[in-house]
Amino acid sequence: MIEARNFTYMFYGFAAAWTVIVIYVITLVTREKKLGQEVATLKKLIAEKEQSR
């Protein structure tokens, strides 16, 4: 019984360690997308400004 719990918690430990990394990678990817969009919008804005001048 105790052995089984010991084993389950070991599994939880590894799952937690990996989950943390996966969550961080996901935030990195979302930020990457957001930054890309922002650069695109700003470049468009600047191009429009150049044209209107």
């Binding site: 084993f7 918690y9 070991m10 430990g13 590894f14 943390v20 969550i23 922002e38």
Partner: protein, 229 residues
Amino acid sequence: MREKLLYGLGLAAMLYLVRNLYVIFLVLPDELAQGAIYRVFYFHLPGYFTAAICYLLAGIFSAMYLITRKWKWDSLAAAITEVGLPFAAMNLITGMIWGRIIWGIWWTWDPRLTSALISALIYAGYLMLRQAIPDPTERAKNSAVMAIFAFTSVIFTYKSNEWFRTQHPGPVLSIRTGGGTIDPQMEWMLAHNLLALLLLAGLLLAIRWRQEERQREIESLRREALSFS
């Protein structure tokens, strides 16, 4: 070129980590007193070391910024602090899960645990400070000063189980005890996993650093877009 290098680094880190998992689960035996649960230690300690190395480098990069005043160092310091935090979280969470089995409790207010948590809070505060300062020069300068102050908490954490009688186990690595406290095979495994996590951290740092530089680019583009309009 840089893209390919990053993919290569990512692949290498992944393969290494999978290889380590294989050895941890299928080759190494259970620990005598603790049974299977001791295996989280292979992430607990390397996770902390990775975080501590990130914090140390954040301090060094910050000092480099103050000396050279080059943006590169500021971006690097910001990126590596953020990369260190998930590893600190990994350390804290695996530690709690281990404590639940060995101590019977998730958390205890022991100097080691408390100071590790405080370090994470301080570095989270560093990231908040960065967000709160709009002017790039002032942001770089003030956060660099904070990073140097923040490192005192890392030293405190590292030394706390020497200074106090803690519930947290004492030093086990042979570089600190002179050997005899840990099976060499297990110590090797720790070194392997530390290397793997450092590789992973290096990859994350490269990605985060590029984002930080792009953020700077966005700030200057924004100034350009909003000027004279």
